[in-house]
């Protein structure tokens, strides 16, 4: 089954006429994503890659079935684009845009908590269900259909890990880059819950980093509820305290937020943590065979 995104998911692209929006629309279509249209306010009536452009999500929904949206609009307009999608009851919202104020994301998060909406990002590479569809900027070619779920706070590091997985014989059910911001739509735990229910997913790789406590919360859940093998990797063992490491959220603000303490915490819970991305397939093999 995989999670969140499938072959038949009806996807729209908010910001479809922009440079990034149009480029990745092409790439997503090539991968097989069922993109049904796009939104750019003021550009309604145009078409991009043969898909109709609308002035608003509302207008798109009058003519199309819409299950999911991917947002490429610049930060200045991205917050409104997210609210627009929420108001129009789009159930999966993927925010690629980097630079959304955390306070605005915080409001969005609290508004949608407990409601039937999944938000991925912002500042994320998106997600992919290999062999079916991708929503995002991930290079489709490195992914392979299979039974490992991947959740990551990073972009290229995810590719590195997936590359190792694929080469190590592990295909992926769904791979999700959850984004590098401090406040994000779906955290590890929210996606682990979905992977738990997914029959196709036999194991999960969790790629964390410094900053925040998502890995710790996820660890407790993995130990107590997930019931599937997990291998983790935590980036940033050499990162200094108090410095932003590229991602807005990759900053050590307290003791528990270092890569070392996260690794220790997970290992104490009995969760395997790899030292090198390339070790992950081997670890996974052991975990699944246990």
């Amino acid at each position: 089954m995989a999670i969140l995104l499938h072959k038949n998911t009806n996807v729209i692209v908010q910001g479809i006429t922009g440079r990034d929006g149009s480029f990745h629309t092409r790439s997503m279509l090539d991968y097989g994503t069922n993109i049904v249209g796009g939104i750019t306010p003021g550009k309604g009536g145009l078409s991009v890659e043969g898909k109709p452009v609308f002035n608003s999500v509302h207008n798109a929904k009058k003519e199309l079935l819409v299950d999911a949206t991917i947002i490429f609009v610049p930060p200045k307009f991205a917050v409104d684009a997210v609210w627009e999608a929420i108001e129009e009851e789009v159930k999966l919202i993927v925010i690629i845009t980097e630079g959304l104020p955390a306070l605005e994301m915080m409001k969005i998060k609290n508004y949608t908590k407990g409601k039937d909406i999944n938000i991925i990002g912002p500042n994320c590479p998106g997600l992919i269900t290999p062999g079916e569809a991708k929503m995002g900027i991930l290079p489709g070619s490195i992914f392979k259909k299979g039974n490992i779920g991947v959740i990551s706070r990073s972009g290229t590091l995810t590719y590195e890990v997936v590359y190792s997985l694929t080469n190590g014989g592990f295909g992926q059910s769904t791979v999700i880059g959850i984004g590098g911001d401090p406040i994000i739509g779906s955290r590890f735990i929210e996606l682990l819950r979905l992977f738990k229910e997914d029959n196709e997913t036999q194991g999960v790789v969790l790629i964390g980093e410094i900053g925040g406590n998502d890995e710790l919360v996820a660890g407790e859940y993995i130990k107590n509820e997930l019931g599937k093998p997990v291998v983790a990797f935590i980036a940033g063992k050499t990162a200094p305290k108090g410095k932003k490491m590229g991602h807005a959220g990759a900053i050590i603000s307290g003791k528990g937020e270092t890569a070392q303490s996260k690794t220790e915490f997970l290992e104490n819970l009995g969760i395997k943590v790899a030292n090198l991305p390339q070790e992950i397939p081997e670890f996974l093999k052991n975990e699944i065979n246990n």
């Binding site: 104020p101 955390a102 306070l103 406040i183 980093e209 990162a239 932003k244 590229g246 991602h247 090198l276």
Partner: protein, 378 residues
Amino acid sequence: MKLYEFQGKNLFAKYQIPIPKGKVALTIDEARGIIKGSILPVVVKAQVLIGGRGKAGGVKLVKTMEDVEPVLNSIFGLNIKGYTVNKVLIEEGMNIEKEIYLSFMMNRNNEKITLITSSEGGVEIENVAKNNPDAILKLNIDPLVGLRSFHYMRFFEHLGIRDKTLKYQFIHVLNNMYKMFNELSLGLIEINPLVIVSGNRLIALDSKVVIDDNAVPFLKDMDHIKNYDDMTEDEVNAKSSGLSFVQLDGNIGCIVNGAGLAMATMDMIKFFGGEPANFLDVGGSSNPNKVISALKIITKDPNVKVILFNIFGGITRCDDIANGIKMALEKLDISLPIIIRLTGTNEKEGVRIIDSLGLDSTTSMQDAVKKAVSMVGE
């Protein structure tokens, strides 16, 4: 973005949060003039974007005119954890009855605005958390719900405040801090200490204000407050070239696409016994100029013995990076060895360009890192 104490206090004044009378001086002469025009005692406070200045001798009392020269001479030019003091805030002295800690912070772990208060003001909250955690109250505020009377109730209960005048003043300060937090999209607004002075008046004796970097571009009329004083010159340059760069003290210079991969590269260098000289993320786009800027910054560091590229092409195309390296080698005088890992989008084209430069490349991150480590080890 961190603000200086005096910048934070200027905003406090705008938001009607009471502050002491004070003036900023950029030179000893200016400071002397301000003190001469003031009623003593005054406090001279180093303005630096780092905590712990008190312990470092950055805050001193001037009781009589005899104190002026020694105090100013000791503070101006003082080095506080790598920051040199080049401005001071001179403030009226206060008769303090009680000191309280009060802050609102963006709490990423529960997606709330967390109000933190402690009856032990004037000391670092981390120390209170360690030594006397019961002194601390944390209230989580949903920004959609806002600061409300039940928050006040718990606040007063915790601090044991019963006096009505004082309650009104606290509510005034709490509301205005919360308003400032929201209107300026802050990551942190901290008053430590918030003091009660005679007549049950509240005054913010210090300020720590951090604006969410993502919100800075959206703030109006705040240009005068922008500063990059907590970044090194190289970090500022990198930022303006669209790179993320953090200086470290090892000898392997790293150029990587993607923040997570860049951290993983540093970690792997360390794992195999080396020391990374920096964190550097060239980002998602493939502009060859970014490669040139990155190489410029890294080669300025005299510690760097070898340069390691780790590129996993996705949006970033390997041939663009390779072309960047080619252009840099033509433009810059680089004598350091360069180790290149290239894989992903347009890998073949990239490798061909690297080959044409007479350089080696590999598709394996691990091989590249090991090689870099072994080279500095020689």
